[in-house]
Symmetry: C2
């Protein structure tokens, strides 16, 4: 774990803090599709992403979903920060988008380090800033883009975090992430294919115009 830590977080944290993380953190291997956080969960530890990607979702009272953004290597989940520090429930759902490696840090340590390590404080504040920006971008996407633009952005983002231009996903799954219906997605995907931006195959989509 120490090597992973130094590699991905060494430039952020002083050696002493890296050592502390190494001592109290728990290394975890998460398979694709695993649900890390459910809405309403109380969070007792905070994840540092080492590799892979996590999908963050919002849900309304009717159970309708909506993707907010992806989290990648070097990030942490600011929602988790929020929840830990405020001892409140999670307002989002987190699902492993790919196989993921992460380090879990107990909430008690996390608070202790805030006073102890300037670099940790900076990291936490920077994480909040990043997540805030992601949320604003999500708002832009929903508010200002039409469904065909949202769809194409979604495909590109998904190809990006998977490091693969071929996306393994069904139309129905996309529809759920974008909070619309399968028929609408099929229709728009077909148009994108005609425009030469993607190639459609069963259970996967190749994004050409990256």
């Amino acid at each position: 774990m120490l090597e992973q830590l130094k590699q991905h977080y060494g430039y952020l944290f002083e050696d002493e803090l890296i050592q502390e993380i190494n001592n109290v953190g728990t290394y975890k291997d998460i398979p694709e599709g695993f649900k890390l956080i459910e809405i309403g969960d109380y969070i007792k530890s905070m994840p540092l992403l080492v590799s892979g990607a996590i999908k963050i979702l919002r849900e309304d009272e009717d159970g309708d979903e909506l993707i907010l953004y992806f989290i990648e290597q070097g990030d942490t989940c600011a929602m988790t920060l929020s929840c830990c520090l405020g001892s409140s429930k999670s307002e989002i759902r987190a699902i492993a988008e790919t196989d993921t490696k992460l380090i879990m840090i107990p909430v008690a340590k996390m608070e202790e380090w805030l006073g102890k390590y300037k670099s940790w404080q900076q990291f936490v504040l920077q994480s909040y800033h990043n997540r805030m920006s992601e949320l604003l971008e999500a708002i832009d996407t929903i508010a200002f883009l039409k469904m065909d633009e949202r769809l194409f952005k979604y495909l590109k983002d998904k190809a990006m975090v998977n490091h693969n231009e071929v996306i393994h996903v069904t139309h129905q799954q996309i529809a759920r992430d974008l909070h619309t219906s399968r028929v609408v997605i099929s229709r728009l995907l077909k148009t994108l294919e005609i425009d030469g931006k993607i190639e459609l195959h069963r259970n996967n989509i190749k994004v050409l115009d990256l």
Copy 2:
């Protein structure tokens, strides 16, 4: 200023910090409609709201606006926090919704206090948490509600922060805040009136179903 501070922030901050704020803070009276922050601005001081309300807006590259939320007494602007601590540009616009009183704190002090006062650190983190929740609520509103529901929520929120069931606003202004057209708003307002939820008058709207 000291009295105002003790009244609105005394329960949050220790006396010593209140004194410091009193020493370095600048008291400001802001008239309704005044633009406090423009998108792209670099922020060099951070506001603590004493009274009044501030409207936070997002804008896309075409100049289309969208209201995110209102900030009220006892709050601060987490976007400002973000910008100050990261020395980055503002991603939002802030406009005084009502006549507003606030205390401006220089960014240097703000950072200094983070290490010095536990209560300040708590306040900053709590502010981030609150703003994150507001952004999520904004996303819910845009993504899951139809325009008539969004409109009614907007009217109620506006009545709330103005402490007045009568809202002084034109249909055109509402349309701009909700990123739609005047005709759409007029149409939906008329329906709300027929349903007995509001009363329409020239330049103002009375919200009945609060």
